[in-house]
């Protein structure tokens, strides 16, 4: 049986401060999908990602990655995931090459395999010339690309991107889109959170909208766009339509 890339059932999270971040979220991402998880700031997107990647403890509920439970089989579940987090989180004193090769090491990949992979990723993402410079010297866009390279070095089946294009210029953003499209063509499942709704509309097959810790809409992009006041999508792409649906669903 083909297990979904991500299966979340009745997930709740209450932080120690008392903040209720998730209120019974259920979500399924099919294998091979390009899935957008959208929501306003503080809606619970990053908490879902944190729990899915083992960086945040859940309160109740179940999270499975390709059938492996993140609580009972964390090591197995984590082998499937590559994470590009919202914040830049590598050691600024390290070199991009070392950051990528070390990441492969944490996944048990020997250096003899990790080094050529790192070199290819650095070339593919336009970072090869900077491979031996300290990461702190990279521009904002380069740091984002380094995080993508780091997340891909162990060749994950499921890539999670938490606002990967935040603060990235338009040209670079579009080149990142092309790169991500190439990954889905190779069978990698992608979960994307973004505030650029045009980005989600262009890239994603399925979408879920979360507001105040609850999923308020979920379905194919066509189904979500059909929730627009103009009625069902007529087939022609119209930028901004998703934004209007998003505002309608999250304004309360």
């Amino acid at each position: 049986m083909n297990e979904p890339a991500l299966s979340i059932t009745n997930l709740t999270k209450t932080y120690a401060s008392g903040t209720v971040a998730l209120q019974g979220v259920s979500l399924t991402i099919p294998t091979g999908d390009f899935f957008a998880l959208l929501g306003p700031n503080g809606a619970g997107k990053t908490t879902i990602i944190g729990i899915t990647t083992g960086l945040v403890n859940k309160t109740t509920g179940e999270v499975k990655i390709f059938g492996d439970d993140i609580t009972t089989s964390p090591e197995k579940a984590k082998t499937h995931i590559g994470l590009v987090g919202q914040e830049v989180n590598f050691n600024p004193f390290e070199k991009p090459f070392d950051i990528i090769v070390n990441q492969a090491g944490y996944y048990g990949i020997p250096r003899s395999i990790a080094i050529p992979r790192a070199e290819k990723l650095l070339k593919d993402l336009g970072l090869y010339e900077k491979r031996d410079q300290r990461a702190m010297t990279l521009s904002g866009g380069m740091k984002r690309r380094l995080m993508i390279a780091r997340a891909l070095v162990h060749e994950p089946k499921f890539l999670i991107l938490d606002e990967p294009t935040a603060g990235v210029d338009v040209e670079l953003r579009r080149s990142m889109w092309e790169y991500l499209k190439g990954l889905t063509a190779k069978g990698v499942t992608i979960l994307l959170t973004t505030h650029y709704l045009e980005e989600a509309e262009q890239l994603c097959k399925h979408v879920a909208i979360i507001n105040k810790g609850s999923i308020v809409a979920s379905g194919t992009m066509t189904e979500i766009l059909a929730m627009h006041d103009d009625g069902p999508r007529d087939g022609a792409y119209r930028a901004g339509k998703l934004e209007e649906v998003f505002i309608k669903l999250t304004q309360n």
């Binding site: 932080y15 120690a16 944190g50 990647t53 083992g54 960086l55 945040v56 403890n57 964390p74 090591e75 197995k76 984590k78 082998t79 995931i81 994470l83 987090g85 914040e87 989180n89 590598f90 050691n91 600024p92 070392d98 950051i99 070390n102 990441q103 090491g105 944490y106 996944y107 048990g108 990949i109 020997p110 780091r150």
Partner: protein
């Protein structure tokens, strides 16, 4: 995680830390050497020359094992505490390991091994420096090696607990200042416990440094305030407790995850 992958993960954590230790050698190696030279000079040569023998050896010979151990434990502790805390608090690159399938016991092993490498290397450097002041005898080299390993491991484990649990920079400076330093100075580095009043002797017996210093001193000089087997038993028990605490913190995410 398969055994080979586990080994690679462990090696990656250790390799990264050892390269960092050597890259910033003026911060990791030099301070303990300078401090030890001052101890040897002031306590060993200047003050020690006015003191009588301790159990048949000169005062500087008596304090050399303790001063080597002082360097080992402080460096092993500081290394794991600061490395883990900085990765957790400042750059948040500890997430690189936490999102990976590396199990908690491998994370513990990697960080502790890094702390042990620094502690043992600095200890050997201090021992080398001590030769310029007094040539210490090496009565039981295997005992010296055993206590070098035990002391660096215990304090690297303790440093890791500190690094995982600390919530602010103060959290990793308070413990070395207010806990580690008193334990070291009251653990028999500069004196024999036999010379203490009974009430202070009782306090000393619950100080792990006391067992480390005495075991280490036995390896050099052939005498100790406490039996070797008791020292080893106490230190192995302490190791087991610290491993369990670290494993619990990493498994539950206490101090690490929200």
């Amino acid at each position: 995680m398969p055994l080979k992958s586990t080994w690679i993960s462990f090696y990656t954590i250790l390799r990264k830390d050892v390269m960092r230790i050597f890259r910033i050698w003026p911060q990791t190696f030099l301070p303990s050497i300078v401090t030890s030279v001052l101890y040897f000079l002031v306590f060993g040569t200047i003050i020690g020359s006015r003191l009588g023998d301790f159990n048949g050896v000169s005062y500087i010979h008596f304090i050399i094992p303790g001063l080597v151990l002082l360097a080992v434990v402080t460096n092993a502790f500081t290394n794991t505490a600061s490395t883990f805390f900085q990765a957790k608090f400042f750059s948040r690159n500890i997430d690189e390991i936490l999102v990976s399938p590396t199990p908690p016991w491998v994370i513990i092993g990697g960080f502790v091994a890094g702390g042990m490498v620094r502690g043992i290397l600095v200890g050997l450097l201090v021992l080398t420096v001590s030769v310029f002041f007094a040539l210490p005898p090496l009565m039981h080299p295997f005992v010296i090696l055993l206590f070098l390993i035990l002391s660096s491991m215990i304090f690297a484990l303790a440093g890791l607990v500190n690094g995982i649990y600390a919530k602010s920079f103060d959290g990793i400076t308070i413990i070395p200042t207010f806990v580690l330093t008193p334990l070291i100075y009251l653990g028999g580095v500069f004196y024999s416990v036999a010379s203490l009043p009974d009430v202070f002797k009782a306090f000393t017996l619950v100080n792990p440094i006391f067992y480390l210093v005495n075991g280490f001193r036995y390896g050099f000089l052939g005498f100790s305030d406490v039996s070797l087997s008791l020292s080893i038993a106490v230190l192995l028990a302490l190791t087991a407790v610290l491993v369990a605490i670290n494993w619990y913190l990493l498994r539950t995410g206490l101090g690490l995850k929200q």
